[in-house]
Symmetry: D2
Protein backbone atom coordinates (compact mmCIF):
# COMPACT_ATOMS: atom_id res chain seq x y z
CA UNK A 1 0.00 0.00 0.00
CA UNK A 2 1.62 3.22 -1.13
CA UNK A 3 1.17 6.41 0.87
CA UNK A 4 -2.01 8.11 -0.22
CA UNK A 5 -2.29 11.59 -1.67
CA UNK A 6 -3.91 12.90 1.50
CA UNK A 7 -0.95 11.79 3.60
CA UNK A 8 2.20 13.64 2.66
CA UNK A 9 4.34 12.71 5.64
CA UNK A 10 2.94 9.74 7.54
CA UNK A 11 4.82 10.50 10.79
CA UNK A 12 3.69 14.08 10.89
CA UNK A 13 0.20 13.16 9.71
CA UNK A 14 -0.09 10.65 12.56
CA UNK A 15 1.24 13.13 15.13
CA UNK A 16 -1.45 15.69 14.33
CA UNK A 17 -4.25 13.47 15.65
CA UNK A 18 -5.31 13.68 19.26
CA UNK A 19 -9.09 13.20 19.39
CA UNK A 20 -10.31 9.63 19.09
CA UNK A 21 -13.44 7.48 19.37
CA UNK A 22 -13.23 3.90 20.61
CA UNK A 23 -15.23 0.98 19.33
CA UNK A 24 -15.07 -2.80 19.19
CA UNK A 25 -15.76 -4.89 16.08
CA UNK A 26 -19.23 -6.42 16.36
CA UNK A 27 -19.98 -9.95 15.24
CA UNK A 28 -22.53 -8.81 12.65
CA UNK A 29 -19.87 -6.50 11.17
CA UNK A 30 -17.79 -9.48 10.02
CA UNK A 31 -18.51 -11.30 6.76
CA UNK A 32 -18.09 -14.85 5.49
CA UNK A 33 -14.44 -14.15 4.59
CA UNK A 34 -13.89 -13.95 8.36
CA UNK A 35 -12.88 -10.33 8.78
CA UNK A 36 -14.47 -6.90 9.18
CA UNK A 37 -16.62 -6.20 6.14
CA UNK A 38 -15.24 -3.32 4.06
CA UNK A 39 -18.41 -1.23 4.36
CA UNK A 40 -18.20 -0.90 8.16
CA UNK A 41 -15.24 1.50 8.60
CA UNK A 42 -17.47 4.23 7.16
CA UNK A 43 -19.87 3.60 10.06
CA UNK A 44 -16.95 4.02 12.45
CA UNK A 45 -15.85 7.19 10.64
CA UNK A 46 -19.36 8.63 11.01
CA UNK A 47 -19.54 7.89 14.73
CA UNK A 48 -16.02 9.23 15.28
CA UNK A 49 -16.74 12.39 13.31
CA UNK A 50 -19.94 13.03 15.25
CA UNK A 51 -18.13 12.65 18.58
CA UNK A 52 -15.53 15.08 17.26
CA UNK A 53 -18.24 17.58 16.28
CA UNK A 54 -19.90 17.10 19.66
CA UNK A 55 -16.60 17.90 21.36
CA UNK A 56 -16.65 21.21 19.46
CA UNK A 57 -20.31 21.84 20.30
CA UNK A 58 -21.39 21.76 16.63
CA UNK A 59 -23.43 18.57 16.60
CA UNK A 60 -25.85 19.68 19.28
CA UNK A 61 -27.01 22.61 17.14
CA UNK A 62 -27.24 20.58 13.95
CA UNK A 63 -29.59 18.16 15.69
CA UNK A 64 -32.06 20.85 16.78
CA UNK A 65 -35.24 20.46 14.68
CA UNK A 66 -35.55 24.24 14.20
CA UNK A 67 -31.88 24.65 13.23
CA UNK A 68 -31.33 25.92 9.69
CA UNK A 69 -28.17 23.94 8.95
CA UNK A 70 -27.15 20.29 8.77
CA UNK A 71 -23.81 18.75 7.88
CA UNK A 72 -23.66 16.59 4.77
CA UNK A 73 -20.95 14.34 3.45
CA UNK A 74 -19.55 15.40 0.09
CA UNK A 75 -17.09 12.55 -0.29
CA UNK A 76 -15.48 9.75 1.70
CA UNK A 77 -12.55 7.44 1.23
CA UNK A 78 -10.88 4.68 3.17
CA UNK A 79 -7.62 2.77 2.78
CA UNK A 80 -7.55 -0.69 4.31
CA UNK A 81 -3.98 -1.23 5.52
CA UNK A 82 -4.37 -4.34 7.67
CA UNK A 83 -7.14 -6.87 8.11
CA UNK A 84 -9.42 -6.23 11.07
CA UNK A 85 -11.13 -9.05 12.94
CA UNK A 86 -14.08 -9.70 15.23
CA UNK A 87 -13.83 -8.28 18.74
CA UNK A 88 -10.78 -6.12 18.06
CA UNK A 89 -10.73 -2.86 19.97
CA UNK A 90 -10.16 0.08 17.63
CA UNK A 91 -9.36 3.71 18.16
CA UNK A 92 -10.63 5.92 15.35
CA UNK A 93 -8.73 9.19 15.40
CA UNK A 94 -10.24 12.30 13.80
CA UNK A 95 -8.81 15.68 12.83
CA UNK A 96 -9.85 18.70 10.78
CA UNK A 97 -7.14 18.74 8.14
CA UNK A 98 -8.25 21.76 6.12
CA UNK A 99 -11.04 24.29 6.57
CA UNK A 100 -12.95 25.72 3.62
CA UNK A 101 -15.60 28.44 3.54
CA UNK A 102 -18.46 26.14 4.52
CA UNK A 103 -16.65 22.82 4.44
CA UNK A 104 -14.02 20.92 6.33
CA UNK A 105 -11.75 18.12 5.24
CA UNK A 106 -11.80 15.49 7.98
CA UNK A 107 -9.06 12.88 8.24
CA UNK A 108 -9.35 9.53 9.99
CA UNK A 109 -6.84 7.03 11.33
CA UNK A 110 -7.86 3.67 12.81
CA UNK A 111 -5.49 1.83 15.15
CA UNK A 112 -5.81 -1.62 16.68
CA UNK A 113 -4.78 -2.40 20.25
CA UNK A 114 -1.19 -3.00 19.17
CA UNK A 115 -1.11 0.64 18.06
CA UNK A 116 -0.84 -0.47 14.43
CA UNK A 117 -2.55 1.72 11.84
CA UNK A 118 -5.17 -0.51 10.22
CA UNK A 119 -7.29 2.09 8.41
CA UNK A 120 -6.79 5.59 7.12
CA UNK A 121 -9.34 7.82 5.46
CA UNK A 122 -10.66 11.25 4.74
CA UNK A 123 -13.76 13.04 3.55
CA UNK A 124 -15.25 16.47 3.09
CA UNK A 125 -18.19 17.61 5.20
CA UNK A 126 -20.22 20.65 4.17
CA UNK A 127 -22.55 22.68 6.35
CA UNK A 128 -25.66 23.25 4.21
CA UNK A 129 -29.02 24.96 4.63
CA UNK A 130 -31.93 22.53 4.87
CA UNK A 131 -34.03 24.98 2.84
CA UNK A 132 -31.71 25.83 -0.02
CA UNK A 133 -29.33 22.88 -0.01
CA UNK A 134 -26.49 25.41 -0.41
CA UNK A 135 -23.36 25.68 1.69
CA UNK A 136 -23.61 27.96 4.73
CA UNK A 137 -20.28 29.59 5.72
CA UNK A 138 -18.75 28.78 9.08
CA UNK A 139 -18.92 31.61 11.58
CA UNK A 140 -15.59 33.00 12.72
CA UNK A 141 -16.09 31.23 16.02
CA UNK A 142 -16.65 27.89 14.32
CA UNK A 143 -13.53 28.36 12.20
CA UNK A 144 -11.49 29.06 15.27
CA UNK A 145 -12.81 26.04 17.03
CA UNK A 146 -12.09 23.80 14.05
CA UNK A 147 -8.64 25.34 13.66
CA UNK A 148 -7.84 25.51 17.33
CA UNK A 149 -8.40 21.87 17.74
CA UNK A 150 -5.32 21.32 15.69
CA UNK A 151 -2.85 23.28 13.63
CA UNK A 152 -4.68 23.15 10.38
CA UNK A 153 -4.32 24.62 6.97
CA UNK A 154 -7.01 27.24 6.52
CA UNK A 155 -8.14 27.43 2.93
CA UNK A 156 -10.84 29.86 1.95
CA UNK A 157 -11.78 28.25 -1.33
CA UNK A 158 -14.81 25.91 -1.62
Amino acid sequence: MSIKAYVTDIKEWEREFSFYYETKVRFNETDMFGHLNNTVPFVYFESARIEFFKSLGFMQNWLEPQEECIPVVADLQCDFLKQVFFDQQLKIYVKAAAIGGSSVDIHYMGKNDKEEIVLTGRGTMVQISKQTGKGVPWTEEMREMLAGHKHVLVDDHQ
Copy 2:
Protein backbone atom coordinates in the same frame (compact mmCIF):
# COMPACT_ATOMS: atom_id res chain seq x y z
CA MET B 1 -38.17 -26.61 15.70
CA SER B 2 -41.66 -26.94 17.08
CA ILE B 3 -44.57 -25.07 15.52
CA LYS B 4 -44.79 -21.63 17.01
CA ALA B 5 -47.76 -20.20 18.87
CA TYR B 6 -48.57 -17.85 16.01
CA VAL B 7 -48.88 -20.73 13.56
CA THR B 8 -51.75 -23.02 14.48
CA ASP B 9 -51.95 -25.02 11.25
CA ILE B 10 -48.84 -24.65 9.13
CA LYS B 11 -50.50 -25.71 5.87
CA GLU B 12 -53.37 -23.29 6.27
CA TRP B 13 -51.05 -20.58 7.59
CA GLU B 14 -48.85 -20.96 4.51
CA ARG B 15 -51.83 -20.94 2.14
CA GLU B 16 -53.06 -17.58 3.40
CA PHE B 17 -50.03 -15.71 2.05
CA SER B 18 -50.06 -14.26 -1.42
CA PHE B 19 -48.16 -10.96 -1.32
CA TYR B 20 -44.38 -11.26 -1.34
CA TYR B 21 -41.21 -9.19 -1.62
CA GLU B 22 -38.10 -10.60 -3.28
CA THR B 23 -34.54 -10.05 -2.19
CA LYS B 24 -31.12 -11.65 -2.50
CA VAL B 25 -28.71 -12.17 0.39
CA ARG B 26 -25.95 -9.55 0.18
CA PHE B 27 -22.33 -10.34 0.97
CA ASN B 28 -22.19 -7.86 3.85
CA GLU B 29 -25.25 -9.58 5.38
CA THR B 30 -23.24 -12.76 6.03
CA ASP B 31 -21.05 -13.18 9.11
CA MET B 32 -17.86 -15.05 9.95
CA PHE B 33 -19.86 -18.23 10.63
CA GLY B 34 -20.54 -18.24 6.88
CA HIS B 35 -24.30 -17.74 6.81
CA LEU B 36 -26.84 -14.92 6.93
CA ASN B 37 -26.42 -13.01 10.16
CA ASN B 38 -29.43 -13.39 12.45
CA THR B 39 -30.12 -9.66 12.62
CA VAL B 40 -30.81 -9.30 8.88
CA PRO B 41 -34.20 -11.03 8.51
CA PHE B 42 -35.70 -8.10 10.40
CA VAL B 43 -34.42 -5.83 7.63
CA TYR B 44 -36.13 -8.07 5.08
CA PHE B 45 -39.33 -8.05 7.16
CA GLU B 46 -39.30 -4.26 7.22
CA SER B 47 -38.83 -3.95 3.46
CA ALA B 48 -41.48 -6.60 2.80
CA ARG B 49 -43.95 -4.95 5.17
CA ILE B 50 -43.41 -1.55 3.55
CA GLU B 51 -44.02 -2.98 0.08
CA PHE B 52 -47.18 -4.57 1.48
CA PHE B 53 -48.33 -1.24 2.92
CA LYS B 54 -47.48 0.47 -0.37
CA SER B 55 -49.65 -2.05 -2.21
CA LEU B 56 -52.54 -0.94 0.05
CA GLY B 57 -51.72 2.77 -0.44
CA PHE B 58 -50.94 3.31 3.27
CA MET B 59 -47.21 3.94 3.10
CA GLN B 60 -47.47 6.87 0.73
CA ASN B 61 -49.52 8.84 3.28
CA TRP B 62 -47.34 7.90 6.22
CA LEU B 63 -44.32 9.32 4.40
CA GLU B 64 -45.90 12.74 3.80
CA PRO B 65 -44.13 15.26 6.07
CA GLN B 66 -47.43 16.96 7.00
CA GLU B 67 -49.19 13.64 7.73
CA GLU B 68 -50.29 13.23 11.35
CA CYS B 69 -49.67 9.48 11.62
CA ILE B 70 -46.73 7.14 11.32
CA PRO B 71 -46.58 3.37 11.79
CA VAL B 72 -44.42 2.05 14.61
CA VAL B 73 -43.31 -1.45 15.46
CA ALA B 74 -44.60 -2.69 18.84
CA ASP B 75 -42.92 -6.07 18.69
CA LEU B 76 -41.14 -8.41 16.30
CA GLN B 77 -40.15 -12.05 16.29
CA CYS B 78 -38.42 -14.42 13.92
CA ASP B 79 -37.93 -18.18 13.85
CA PHE B 80 -34.91 -19.41 11.95
CA LEU B 81 -35.90 -22.76 10.42
CA LYS B 82 -33.06 -23.33 7.96
CA GLN B 83 -29.69 -21.73 7.45
CA VAL B 84 -29.59 -19.08 4.74
CA PHE B 85 -26.48 -18.36 2.70
CA PHE B 86 -24.88 -15.65 0.57
CA ASP B 87 -26.54 -14.95 -2.76
CA GLN B 88 -29.68 -16.99 -2.08
CA GLN B 89 -32.83 -15.57 -3.61
CA LEU B 90 -35.57 -15.23 -0.99
CA LYS B 91 -39.27 -14.51 -1.16
CA ILE B 92 -40.57 -12.81 1.96
CA TYR B 93 -44.34 -13.29 2.15
CA VAL B 94 -46.46 -10.88 4.19
CA LYS B 95 -50.04 -11.00 5.45
CA ALA B 96 -52.25 -9.11 7.89
CA ALA B 97 -53.16 -11.86 10.31
CA ALA B 98 -55.34 -9.91 12.73
CA ILE B 99 -56.59 -6.33 12.77
CA GLY B 100 -56.90 -4.35 16.00
CA GLY B 101 -58.35 -0.89 16.58
CA SER B 102 -55.20 0.96 15.56
CA SER B 103 -52.86 -1.99 15.13
CA VAL B 104 -52.29 -4.92 12.85
CA ASP B 105 -50.55 -8.22 13.45
CA ILE B 106 -48.33 -8.87 10.44
CA HIS B 107 -47.05 -12.36 9.70
CA TYR B 108 -43.99 -13.19 7.59
CA MET B 109 -42.78 -16.31 5.80
CA GLY B 110 -39.43 -16.49 4.03
CA LYS B 111 -38.85 -19.12 1.31
CA ASN B 112 -35.68 -19.98 -0.56
CA ASP B 113 -35.63 -20.82 -4.26
CA LYS B 114 -36.41 -24.48 -3.53
CA GLU B 115 -39.68 -23.25 -2.00
CA GLU B 116 -38.51 -24.33 1.44
CA ILE B 117 -39.64 -22.22 4.38
CA VAL B 118 -36.44 -20.85 5.93
CA LEU B 119 -37.85 -18.11 8.17
CA THR B 120 -41.17 -17.37 9.82
CA GLY B 121 -42.08 -14.36 11.89
CA ARG B 122 -44.65 -11.92 13.12
CA GLY B 123 -44.97 -8.51 14.70
CA THR B 124 -47.50 -5.88 15.66
CA MET B 125 -47.54 -2.51 13.89
CA VAL B 126 -49.43 0.40 15.41
CA GLN B 127 -50.54 3.58 13.66
CA ILE B 128 -49.67 6.41 16.05
CA SER B 129 -49.94 10.18 16.08
CA LYS B 130 -46.59 11.95 15.78
CA GLN B 131 -47.84 14.58 18.22
CA THR B 132 -49.31 12.47 21.00
CA GLY B 133 -47.56 9.15 20.47
CA LYS B 134 -50.97 7.48 20.94
CA GLY B 135 -52.61 4.95 18.64
CA VAL B 136 -54.85 6.39 15.91
CA PRO B 137 -57.72 4.08 14.90
CA TRP B 138 -57.84 2.73 11.35
CA THR B 139 -60.55 4.27 9.21
CA GLU B 140 -63.25 1.90 7.99
CA GLU B 141 -61.65 2.02 4.56
CA MET B 142 -58.25 1.06 5.91
CA ARG B 143 -59.76 -1.84 7.84
CA GLU B 144 -61.44 -3.11 4.73
CA MET B 145 -58.27 -2.86 2.74
CA LEU B 146 -56.29 -4.71 5.38
CA ALA B 147 -59.04 -7.33 5.69
CA GLY B 148 -59.79 -7.58 2.00
CA HIS B 149 -56.24 -8.43 1.22
CA LYS B 150 -56.77 -11.70 2.96
CA HIS B 151 -59.42 -13.44 5.04
CA VAL B 152 -58.31 -12.17 8.38
CA LEU B 153 -59.56 -12.29 11.88
CA VAL B 154 -60.87 -8.86 12.79
CA ASP B 155 -60.31 -8.14 16.45
CA ASP B 156 -61.40 -4.85 17.91
CA HIS B 157 -59.31 -5.00 21.06
CA GLN B 158 -55.97 -3.18 21.39
Copy 3:
Protein backbone atom coordinates in the same frame (compact mmCIF):
# COMPACT_ATOMS: atom_id res chain seq x y z
CA MET C 1 -48.05 -2.79 25.86
CA SER C 2 -49.20 -5.81 27.84
CA ILE C 3 -46.72 -7.97 29.69
CA LYS C 4 -45.32 -10.58 27.38
CA ALA C 5 -45.58 -14.35 27.84
CA TYR C 6 -41.86 -14.60 28.65
CA VAL C 7 -42.21 -12.14 31.52
CA THR C 8 -44.44 -13.53 34.25
CA ASP C 9 -43.57 -11.07 37.01
CA ILE C 10 -41.88 -7.95 35.67
CA LYS C 11 -40.31 -6.96 39.02
CA GLU C 12 -38.83 -10.39 39.59
CA TRP C 13 -37.86 -10.74 35.96
CA GLU C 14 -36.00 -7.43 36.12
CA ARG C 15 -34.26 -8.36 39.37
CA GLU C 16 -32.76 -11.52 37.91
CA PHE C 17 -30.53 -9.60 35.51
CA SER C 18 -27.05 -8.56 36.52
CA PHE C 19 -24.80 -8.88 33.45
CA TYR C 20 -25.06 -6.04 30.96
CA TYR C 21 -23.44 -4.65 27.83
CA GLU C 22 -23.32 -0.92 27.15
CA THR C 23 -23.75 0.78 23.84
CA LYS C 24 -24.72 4.14 22.41
CA VAL C 25 -27.16 4.65 19.53
CA ARG C 26 -25.20 5.43 16.37
CA PHE C 27 -26.36 7.98 13.83
CA ASN C 28 -26.62 5.41 11.04
CA GLU C 29 -28.88 3.32 13.28
CA THR C 30 -31.62 5.95 13.17
CA ASP C 31 -34.11 6.14 10.29
CA MET C 32 -36.08 8.91 8.60
CA PHE C 33 -38.80 8.69 11.27
CA GLY C 34 -36.15 10.10 13.61
CA HIS C 35 -35.68 7.24 16.06
CA LEU C 36 -33.73 4.00 16.36
CA ASN C 37 -34.66 1.72 13.48
CA ASN C 38 -36.49 -1.39 14.67
CA THR C 39 -33.96 -3.79 13.17
CA VAL C 40 -31.07 -2.55 15.32
CA PRO C 41 -31.97 -3.93 18.79
CA PHE C 42 -31.21 -7.38 17.42
CA VAL C 43 -27.66 -6.18 16.73
CA TYR C 44 -27.44 -5.01 20.34
CA PHE C 45 -28.85 -8.34 21.55
CA GLU C 46 -26.19 -10.20 19.58
CA SER C 47 -23.34 -8.12 20.95
CA ALA C 48 -24.71 -8.37 24.50
CA ARG C 49 -25.17 -12.13 24.21
CA ILE C 50 -21.63 -12.58 22.92
CA GLU C 51 -20.18 -10.56 25.80
CA PHE C 52 -22.26 -12.73 28.14
CA PHE C 53 -20.89 -15.91 26.54
CA LYS C 54 -17.38 -14.47 26.70
CA SER C 55 -17.84 -13.84 30.42
CA LEU C 56 -18.59 -17.57 30.76
CA GLY C 57 -15.63 -18.56 28.57
CA PHE C 58 -17.87 -20.16 25.89
CA MET C 59 -17.36 -17.72 23.03
CA GLN C 60 -13.60 -18.16 22.90
CA ASN C 61 -13.97 -21.89 22.08
CA TRP C 62 -16.75 -21.35 19.56
CA LEU C 63 -14.50 -18.98 17.62
CA GLU C 64 -11.62 -21.47 17.29
CA PRO C 65 -11.46 -22.59 13.63
CA GLN C 66 -10.87 -26.24 14.63
CA GLU C 67 -13.71 -26.25 17.19
CA GLU C 68 -16.55 -28.67 16.37
CA CYS C 69 -19.39 -26.52 17.71
CA ILE C 70 -20.89 -23.12 16.98
CA PRO C 71 -23.88 -21.41 18.54
CA VAL C 72 -26.85 -20.66 16.30
CA VAL C 73 -29.94 -18.61 16.88
CA ALA C 74 -33.17 -20.61 16.75
CA ASP C 75 -35.50 -17.70 17.36
CA LEU C 76 -35.50 -14.08 18.47
CA GLN C 77 -38.08 -11.60 19.62
CA CYS C 78 -38.14 -8.01 20.79
CA ASP C 79 -40.76 -5.79 22.38
CA PHE C 80 -40.33 -2.06 21.82
CA LEU C 81 -41.60 -0.36 24.97
CA LYS C 82 -40.33 3.18 24.48
CA GLN C 83 -38.90 5.06 21.56
CA VAL C 84 -35.12 5.19 21.48
CA PHE C 85 -33.21 8.10 19.94
CA PHE C 86 -29.81 8.98 18.52
CA ASP C 87 -26.94 9.14 20.98
CA GLN C 88 -28.82 7.57 23.88
CA GLN C 89 -26.70 5.41 26.14
CA LEU C 90 -28.25 1.98 26.59
CA LYS C 91 -27.56 -0.92 28.91
CA ILE C 92 -28.55 -4.26 27.42
CA TYR C 93 -28.96 -6.79 30.20
CA VAL C 94 -28.65 -10.52 29.48
CA LYS C 95 -29.55 -13.62 31.44
CA ALA C 96 -29.90 -17.36 30.82
CA ALA C 97 -33.56 -17.87 31.66
CA ALA C 98 -33.84 -21.60 31.00
CA ILE C 99 -31.30 -24.25 30.05
CA GLY C 100 -32.18 -27.10 27.67
CA GLY C 101 -30.10 -30.11 26.64
CA SER C 102 -28.14 -28.24 23.98
CA SER C 103 -29.96 -24.93 24.05
CA VAL C 104 -30.44 -21.94 26.27
CA ASP C 105 -33.22 -19.41 26.42
CA ILE C 106 -31.61 -15.98 26.67
CA HIS C 107 -33.57 -12.98 27.92
CA TYR C 108 -32.73 -9.35 27.22
CA MET C 109 -33.69 -6.05 28.84
CA GLY C 110 -32.63 -2.68 27.45
CA LYS C 111 -32.59 0.38 29.71
CA ASN C 112 -31.92 4.00 28.86
CA ASP C 113 -29.91 6.32 31.08
CA LYS C 114 -33.02 7.20 33.11
CA GLU C 115 -33.18 3.50 34.06
CA GLU C 116 -36.39 3.11 32.06
CA ILE C 117 -36.94 -0.22 30.33
CA VAL C 118 -37.10 0.60 26.62
CA LEU C 119 -36.71 -2.88 25.11
CA THR C 120 -37.31 -6.43 26.26
CA GLY C 121 -36.61 -9.60 24.35
CA ARG C 122 -35.69 -13.24 24.31
CA GLY C 123 -34.40 -15.94 22.03
CA THR C 124 -33.16 -19.51 21.99
CA MET C 125 -29.53 -20.29 21.17
CA VAL C 126 -28.51 -23.84 20.27
CA GLN C 127 -25.01 -25.27 20.32
CA ILE C 128 -24.71 -27.27 17.07
CA SER C 129 -22.04 -29.30 15.33
CA LYS C 130 -20.63 -27.63 12.24
CA GLN C 131 -20.46 -31.05 10.56
CA THR C 132 -23.89 -32.47 11.29
CA GLY C 133 -25.89 -29.32 12.02
CA LYS C 134 -27.37 -31.17 15.03
CA GLY C 135 -27.52 -29.94 18.60
CA VAL C 136 -24.54 -30.85 20.80
CA PRO C 137 -25.42 -31.24 24.49
CA TRP C 138 -23.88 -28.88 27.01
CA THR C 139 -21.23 -30.46 29.21
CA GLU C 140 -22.02 -30.59 32.91
CA GLU C 141 -19.51 -27.78 33.43
CA MET C 142 -21.21 -25.59 30.86
CA ARG C 143 -24.60 -26.21 32.44
CA GLU C 144 -23.27 -25.21 35.80
CA MET C 145 -21.75 -22.07 34.43
CA LEU C 146 -24.96 -21.09 32.67
CA ALA C 147 -26.99 -21.91 35.77
CA GLY C 148 -24.56 -20.45 38.25
CA HIS C 149 -24.63 -17.14 36.57
CA LYS C 150 -28.17 -16.81 37.79
CA HIS C 151 -30.83 -18.83 39.50
CA VAL C 152 -32.32 -20.39 36.43
CA LEU C 153 -34.88 -22.99 35.65
CA VAL C 154 -33.06 -26.07 34.37
CA ASP C 155 -35.16 -27.89 31.81
CA ASP C 156 -33.84 -31.02 30.17
CA HIS C 157 -36.21 -31.05 27.22
CA GLN C 158 -35.15 -29.70 23.80
Copy 4:
Protein backbone atom coordinates in the same frame (compact mmCIF):
# COMPACT_ATOMS: atom_id res chain seq x y z
CA MET D 1 -18.59 19.34 -6.63
CA SER D 2 -15.56 19.46 -8.85
CA ILE D 3 -14.69 16.57 -11.14
CA LYS D 4 -12.68 14.01 -9.21
CA ALA D 5 -9.16 12.85 -10.07
CA TYR D 6 -10.43 9.45 -11.17
CA VAL D 7 -12.74 11.03 -13.73
CA THR D 8 -10.79 12.84 -16.43
CA ASP D 9 -13.60 13.30 -18.93
CA ILE D 10 -17.02 12.81 -17.40
CA LYS D 11 -18.79 12.12 -20.72
CA GLU D 12 -16.28 9.50 -21.80
CA TRP D 13 -16.07 8.08 -18.29
CA GLU D 14 -19.86 7.67 -18.23
CA ARG D 15 -19.92 6.09 -21.70
CA GLU D 16 -17.51 3.33 -20.71
CA PHE D 17 -19.97 1.75 -18.27
CA SER D 18 -22.37 -0.92 -19.43
CA PHE D 19 -22.73 -3.44 -16.60
CA TYR D 20 -25.06 -2.40 -13.78
CA TYR D 21 -26.74 -3.71 -10.63
CA GLU D 22 -30.16 -2.46 -9.56
CA THR D 23 -31.32 -1.79 -6.05
CA LYS D 24 -33.91 0.22 -4.18
CA VAL D 25 -33.20 2.32 -1.09
CA ARG D 26 -34.47 0.46 1.98
CA PHE D 27 -36.16 2.23 4.88
CA ASN D 28 -33.49 1.16 7.37
CA GLU D 29 -30.84 2.68 5.07
CA THR D 30 -32.17 6.18 5.69
CA ASP D 31 -31.16 8.22 8.74
CA MET D 32 -32.78 10.90 10.88
CA PHE D 33 -31.71 13.61 8.42
CA GLY D 34 -34.24 12.00 6.05
CA HIS D 35 -31.96 10.74 3.28
CA LEU D 36 -29.79 7.74 2.46
CA ASN D 37 -27.12 7.39 5.13
CA ASN D 38 -23.63 8.01 3.76
CA THR D 39 -22.32 4.59 4.77
CA VAL D 40 -24.76 2.65 2.55
CA PRO D 41 -23.40 3.37 -0.97
CA PHE D 42 -20.42 1.16 -0.05
CA VAL D 43 -22.88 -1.70 0.49
CA TYR D 44 -24.31 -1.03 -2.97
CA PHE D 45 -20.79 -0.89 -4.44
CA GLU D 46 -19.98 -4.27 -2.89
CA SER D 47 -23.11 -5.92 -4.24
CA ALA D 48 -22.60 -4.36 -7.67
CA ARG D 49 -18.94 -5.42 -7.78
CA ILE D 50 -19.84 -8.98 -6.81
CA GLU D 51 -22.47 -9.20 -9.55
CA PHE D 52 -19.84 -7.87 -11.96
CA PHE D 53 -17.34 -10.52 -10.83
CA LYS D 54 -20.06 -13.18 -11.10
CA SER D 55 -20.72 -12.09 -14.67
CA LEU D 56 -17.02 -12.78 -15.39
CA GLY D 57 -17.13 -16.13 -13.54
CA PHE D 58 -14.58 -14.98 -10.89
CA MET D 59 -16.80 -14.86 -7.83
CA GLN D 60 -17.87 -18.48 -8.03
CA ASN D 61 -14.25 -19.66 -7.62
CA TRP D 62 -13.47 -17.20 -4.85
CA LEU D 63 -16.38 -18.57 -2.84
CA GLU D 64 -15.21 -22.22 -3.00
CA PRO D 65 -13.97 -23.20 0.47
CA GLN D 66 -10.93 -25.03 -0.98
CA GLU D 67 -10.01 -22.13 -3.27
CA GLU D 68 -6.62 -20.57 -2.53
CA CYS D 69 -7.55 -16.97 -3.38
CA ILE D 70 -10.02 -14.38 -2.18
CA PRO D 71 -10.52 -10.80 -3.30
CA VAL D 72 -9.88 -8.06 -0.77
CA VAL D 73 -10.59 -4.37 -0.88
CA ALA D 74 -7.47 -2.19 -0.72
CA ASP D 75 -9.28 1.14 -0.82
CA LEU D 76 -12.67 2.65 -1.53
CA GLN D 77 -14.02 6.11 -2.19
CA CYS D 78 -17.37 7.65 -2.94
CA ASP D 79 -18.49 11.10 -4.07
CA PHE D 80 -22.02 12.09 -3.13
CA LEU D 81 -23.31 14.27 -5.97
CA LYS D 82 -27.02 14.41 -5.19
CA GLN D 83 -29.10 13.47 -2.18
CA VAL D 84 -30.71 10.04 -2.38
CA PHE D 85 -34.01 9.23 -0.67
CA PHE D 86 -36.04 6.30 0.59
CA ASP D 87 -37.51 4.01 -2.06
CA GLN D 88 -35.54 5.46 -4.95
CA GLN D 89 -34.57 2.94 -7.59
CA LEU D 90 -30.84 3.09 -8.32
CA LYS D 91 -28.63 1.63 -11.00
CA ILE D 92 -25.07 1.07 -9.81
CA TYR D 93 -22.79 0.79 -12.83
CA VAL D 94 -19.44 -1.00 -12.56
CA LYS D 95 -16.36 -1.14 -14.76
CA ALA D 96 -12.77 -2.34 -14.55
CA ALA D 97 -10.91 0.91 -15.16
CA ALA D 98 -7.32 -0.34 -14.89
CA ILE D 99 -5.81 -3.79 -14.44
CA GLY D 100 -2.70 -4.35 -12.32
CA GLY D 101 -0.69 -7.51 -11.80
CA SER D 102 -2.97 -8.91 -9.12
CA SER D 103 -5.30 -5.96 -8.67
CA VAL D 104 -8.01 -4.12 -10.51
CA ASP D 105 -9.26 -0.58 -10.16
CA ILE D 106 -13.06 -0.71 -10.15
CA HIS D 107 -15.13 2.38 -10.90
CA TYR D 108 -18.74 2.94 -9.88
CA MET D 109 -21.49 5.26 -11.04
CA GLY D 110 -24.92 5.41 -9.37
CA LYS D 111 -27.90 6.82 -11.28
CA ASN D 112 -31.42 7.51 -10.06
CA ASP D 113 -34.51 6.80 -12.17
CA LYS D 114 -34.22 10.21 -13.85
CA GLU D 115 -30.83 9.04 -15.18
CA GLU D 116 -29.08 11.62 -13.00
CA ILE D 117 -25.68 10.64 -11.61
CA VAL D 118 -26.10 10.69 -7.83
CA LEU D 119 -22.95 8.83 -6.76
CA THR D 120 -19.55 8.12 -8.25
CA GLY D 121 -16.77 6.05 -6.76
CA ARG D 122 -13.79 3.82 -7.19
CA GLY D 123 -11.66 1.32 -5.33
CA THR D 124 -8.88 -1.18 -5.79
CA MET D 125 -9.52 -4.90 -5.36
CA VAL D 126 -6.61 -7.30 -4.93
CA GLN D 127 -6.66 -11.05 -5.40
CA ILE D 128 -4.73 -12.47 -2.43
CA SER D 129 -3.77 -15.89 -1.14
CA LYS D 130 -5.64 -16.90 2.01
CA GLN D 131 -2.45 -18.56 3.27
CA THR D 132 0.14 -15.89 2.64
CA GLY D 133 -1.99 -12.76 2.44
CA LYS D 134 0.06 -11.76 -0.64
CA GLY D 135 -1.28 -10.75 -4.02
CA VAL D 136 -1.77 -13.58 -6.54
CA PRO D 137 -1.35 -12.50 -10.17
CA TRP D 138 -4.31 -12.71 -12.53
CA THR D 139 -4.05 -15.50 -15.09
CA GLU D 140 -3.89 -14.40 -18.70
CA GLU D 141 -7.47 -15.56 -19.11
CA MET D 142 -8.62 -13.45 -16.18
CA ARG D 143 -6.84 -10.40 -17.54
CA GLU D 144 -8.52 -10.84 -20.89
CA MET D 145 -11.90 -11.18 -19.28
CA LEU D 146 -11.40 -8.07 -17.17
CA ALA D 147 -10.08 -6.17 -20.19
CA GLY D 148 -12.56 -7.55 -22.67
CA HIS D 149 -15.44 -6.36 -20.63
CA LYS D 150 -14.43 -2.86 -21.51
CA HIS D 151 -11.59 -1.03 -23.21
CA VAL D 152 -9.38 -0.61 -20.21
CA LEU D 153 -5.94 0.63 -19.53
CA VAL D 154 -3.73 -2.34 -18.72
CA ASP D 155 -1.09 -1.40 -16.20
CA ASP D 156 1.38 -3.98 -14.97
CA HIS D 157 2.49 -2.12 -11.88
CA GLN D 158 1.08 -2.92 -8.42
